[in-house]
């Protein structure tokens, strides 16, 4: 079976599994959902009222029927209603999603624009002082948590220049691209820094290995210049592990930018989940987690597609 069809066939299966995990996880949260929904007021309910409510929400049914109903609603775009926002969960998510996506894309652009050239440069200057410099920066970069870097950036701006980054109300890129970018650039750099360090390290080591490969020697024996060897023959091969890494990091950014969103007060998906967990808004937690997981899987699929375009061996199902 072809590699890509294989991926496409298992995709819905894995998605179903993911939805089941989310469903079960939410049911494992202590306290029944009526209490969760009504908070302290739930204590005022009579047993009769409770039963009625349970029947209304369908939670008196066995779990698989509940799951089936939930799935059915899911397919119709109904992720339930958020208690804290009093609005459909999907609306709340879609309102926050553009910011998260933009932040992730910006960070990735920063990382690839810095990381790939830096990695190639270091590999082609192997063991020289400039290579050592790049390696040290990349090592430190990879070891710096983004929240530490974020705080340092804010500290330098406020203590050194007396500027506070624009926080609070978020402007969409469609409304005012400049204001939007001025809000986004610092978080994007914060997130992109460690990402860039990883990209640098992986493209350097991939490049170093590939420069030893037989086909690079062939290219040189044809009379290709060093520049042509690097950019034409080696780089396309070195990009394969970079794509893997970018996929993993991008998925992380889709849901894991919580802390940076927190520091820079950006209303993204990560903070939405965090707040929802703190406020016990389980419909929202469930919907957001599923939404993010779905996106991660789409990203993984795109990464596989990127592999297939980059490497014909994968396209033909050899690996």
């Amino acid at each position: 079976m072809n590699y890509l069809t294989g991926r496409l066939v298992t995709f819905p299966l894995v998605l179903l599994g993911v939805s089941l995990i989310v469903f079960i996880a939410i049911r494992l949260v202590p306290g029944d959902s009526i209490t969760a929904m009504l908070g302290t007021e739930a204590g005022l309910l009579t047993p009769k009222q409770r039963e009625a409510l349970a029947a209304y929400f369908g939670i008196d049914q066995p779990w698989f029927i509940q799951y089936w109903r939930w799935l059915y609603d899911l397919f119709h775009g109904d992720l339930g209603v958020s208690v804290t926002y009093g609005r459909p969960v999907l609306d709340v998510i879609l309102e926050r999603f553009p910011l998260t996506l933009e932040l992730a894309l910006l960070s990735m652009i920063v990382a690839l624009l810095v990381g790939v050239p830096a990695g190639v440069y270091a590999a082609t200057h192997n063991e020289q002082p400039s290579d050592l410099g790049v390696r040290i920066i990349a090592m430190v970069g990879q070891s710096t948590p983004n929240f530490v870097l974020g705080l340092v950036i804010i500290y330098i701006l406020s203590a050194g220049f007396g500027i506070l980054p624009v926080m609070g109300t978020f402007t969409s890129i469609w409304q005012d691209p400049l204001t939007n970018l001025s809000q986004m650039i610092l978080p994007a750099v914060t997130l992109g820094f460690a990402f860039a360090a990883s990209v640098t390290r992986i493209s350097r080591s991939a490049m170093l290995d590939i420069l030893k490969d037989d086909y690079v020697r062939t290219a040189r024996s044809k009379g290709a210049s060093s520049r042509a060897v690097i950019w034409r023959h080696a780089l396309p091969n070195a990009l394969i592990p970079v794509v893997t890494l970018s996929g993993i990091e991008f998925s992380y950014l889709l849901g894991g930018a919580v802390i940076v969103e927190q520091i820079f007060a950006l209303p993204g998906l990560g903070r939405l989940v965090l707040d929802a967990i703190l406020q016990r808004d389980y419909a929202l937690v469930q919907g957001t987690v599923l939404f993010i997981a779905f996106n991660v899987m789409v990203v993984n699929l795109l990464v596989d597609l990127a592999y297939a375009t980059l490497d014909p061996r994968i396209r033909l199902g050899e690996r």
């Binding site: 079976m1 037989d214 062939t218 024996s221 044809k222 290709a224 091969n237 014909p312 061996r313 050899e318």
Partner: protein, 593 residues
């Protein structure tokens, strides 16, 4: 007349201190226009380093030229010392005046670029061709190396072509800009013998067409006979002998050349077969191993639900028997099913059908696993994290024994027997050379007193002179322990030295079987003839190769397909060959992958 290329006193070193880590110690030779120089040597002789120094690719492998000169007569009449040339000069020379092909065609082409793009690059670099012109030139280049259907093949990626095809592509790339010198570094070592013959024939033909000079690097002195004008023999970084082909082969001066010519197995059409232990001379007639109708098939799955749509008929009805003290060699090319046969006999591969009978004497004896195996790659068949003692103890432990004094004494005895000392026991595999490791593997196989040893390409990965020693050891052990060998090999010269009987296997079926001398001297099946004709041999040096473009047929068959029952023809007391269908009736499916 001045030489086209003149190398004198070439010294090459490696690492940070190249002077003190010298691999090549002052090699000199001349190459005239249109001449072929063969450089012969074993691994570590510095032959490849010398080759890579000529176009200075050695710079990228950590080497430095520390002395000597490499003077090339340029196309424009000037001359350049390549040892002193700068990188800009060299990139203009590489590919345009000096080209190179390498040992591993599978890894020598960029996996992510189409072969068309890779051929066009040469024209782009040196001829300034682009777009449609480059494409047309690339197609012509592929035509020139006799690749059928060139226009379509240009769009292929390297992984879609076989090793032989890829080596042709490499030649097309190398010869794209009509260089005056082609350096071929072991270009056929990784290929099957019939494919090797095709590539050699192609090189000879292209040389005639273009009048280029060639430097041909090889470990196999038998191979140079058909193509070289001059020979240079290298050992430990020095050229120990050089001269005209006939002079070096017929009247070698240096001891090492004589060693390469005489101590090393060379194919001689059945005249060097064994004379000891022939069938019928021994008292025992009960086979140590008898195989009846062995069939191994692997399902081919397709479609969305992974249902079997056909089967690879890897082994399709193989029968043979093997007497104690006898060697049966199974000979064939890659994909013929010879290794699968061996693996199935040992139970490493599930056989679809067929019966094995193991000699009664062996089966009855206690604590004996009657069959053992020695694998091709001595580096991969020993666990790198275990000491020699643990490695040798494994078969004993597996059959319920313990590492006690008796086991230890057997270990030291066997180690001594295969030519290793007792102090090896506490050492790890990486401390041994390839030949020593293969000796360890043999000792391990003998730990349990087997009656049959399966040797799967057991000497193929070894250097030629080590090969000879290990073969000799195998013969001695066979006589001493009355071992029956099932010897799987692609190498006719090696087989000639060790086999009593030979079975030629093609597309999963035995096509010819019988006494070794008879099969090698008078092959009856067309495939056996083709195989033997392809083997390079010193005494057939003046015969010319013919190009046979036929490919190995596909072994994939539809579900439920059964082959025709074999129809054998007898050619003597112990020599059978399969009757062939008249030409054209045979379904020869050509398959590139």
């Amino acid at each position: 007349m001045t030489a086209l290329l003149s190398v004198s006193g070439l010294r090459v070193g490696f690492g940070r201190d190249p002077q003190n880590h010298e691999i090549v110690h002052g090699v000199s030779f001349d190459l005239a226009a249109g001449e072929t120089l063969a450089v012969v040597g074993e691994s570590g002789s510095g032959k490849s380093v010398t080759a890579l120094s000529i176009n200075r690719l050695i710079d990228f492998g950590g080497g430095r030229i520390t002395g000597g000169s490499i003077v090339l007569q340029r196309t424009d009449g000037s001359s350049t010392d390549l040892a002193q040339a700068d990188e800009a000069q060299l990139t203009r020379i590489r590919g345009a005046e000096i080209s190179m092909i390498f040992q591993e065609p599978m890894t020598s082409l960029n996996p992510v670029l189409t072969i068309g793009t890779q051929i066009e690059e040469s024209f782009r670099l040196h001829r300034g061709l682009t777009g449609r012109q480059a494409k047309a030139a690339a197609r012509d280049a592929l035509d020139r190396v006799r690749i059928p259907d060139a226009a379509r093949r240009l769009k292929y990626n390297p992984n879609q072509l076989s090793g032989g095809m890829l080596q042709r592509v490499m030649i097309a790339i190398a010869l794209a800009c009509s260089p005056r010198i082609l350096i071929a570094d072991e270009p056929t070592t990784a290929l099957d013998v019939t494919v090797q013959a095709q590539i050699l024939a192609l090189l000879a033909e292209l040389k005639r067409e273009t009048g280029m000079s060639m430097i041909f690097i090889t470990h196999d002195i038998g191979l140079v006979a058909g193509i070289a004008d001059k020979v240079m023999v290298m050992q430990a970084g020095e050229a120990v002998e050089q001269g005209e082909l006939n002079q070096v082969l017929d009247d070698p001066q240096h001891a090492y050349t004589r060693h390469l010519l005489h101590a090393v197995p060379h194919f001689s059409s059945g005249r060097a077969t064994r004379i000891d232990g022939q069938r019928g001379t021994s008292a025992s007639t009960e086979p140590a191993l008898k195989v009846d109708g062995l069939v191994v098939r692997f399902p081919v799955k397709g479609g969305l639900f992974g249902r079997a749509t056909g089967a690879v008929h890897a082994v399709d009805g193989v029968d043979f028997d093997l007497l104690p003290g006898e060697t049966l060699a199974i000979v064939g090319e890659s994909g013929s099913g010879k290794s699968t046969t061996a693996r199935a006999v040992l139970g490493l591969e599930q056989s679809t059908r067929g019966a094995f009978t193991i000699g009664k004497a062996a089966a009855a004896a206690e604590g004996v696993r009657p069959m053992q195996m020695v694998f091709q790659n001595p580096y991969a068949s020993l666990n790198p994290r275990l000491t020699v003692q643990s490695i040798l103890a494994e078969p004993v432990i597996a059959s319920g024994g313990r590492t006690d004094a008796r086991t230890l004494s057997r270990m030291t005895k066997l180690l001594a027997r295969v030519g290793l000392t007792e102090d090896c026991l506490q050492r790890y595999p990486h401390e041994f050379s390839g030949g020593q490791r293969q000796r360890l593997c043999i000792a391990r196989a003998l730990m349990l007193n087997p009656s049959v040893v399966v040797l799967d390409e057991a000497v193929s990965a070894l250097d030629v002179s080590v090969q000879a020693d290990v073969l000799e050891l195998l013969v001695d052990l066979q006589q001493e322990f009355k071992l029956a060998y099932l010897f799987i090999s692609h190498d006719m010269a090696v087989v000639e030295r060790i086999a009593h009987r030979i079975a030629v296997i093609y597309a999963g079926q035995i096509v010819e079987i019988g006494e070794a001398a008879s099969v090698l001297a008078e092959p009856r099946h067309s495939y056996t003839r083709k195989l033997i004709a392809a083997v390079p041999a010193i005494d057939r040096r003046h015969e010319t190769f013919e190009i046979d473009m036929r490919q190995v047929p596909s072994l994939v068959r539809p579900l439920g397909f059964e082959p025709q029952p074999a129809d054998w023809q007898s050619f003597g007391p112990d020599h059978l060959a399969r009757t062939e269908a008249p030409d054209g009736a045979k379904p020869l499916v050509t398959d590139d992958a």
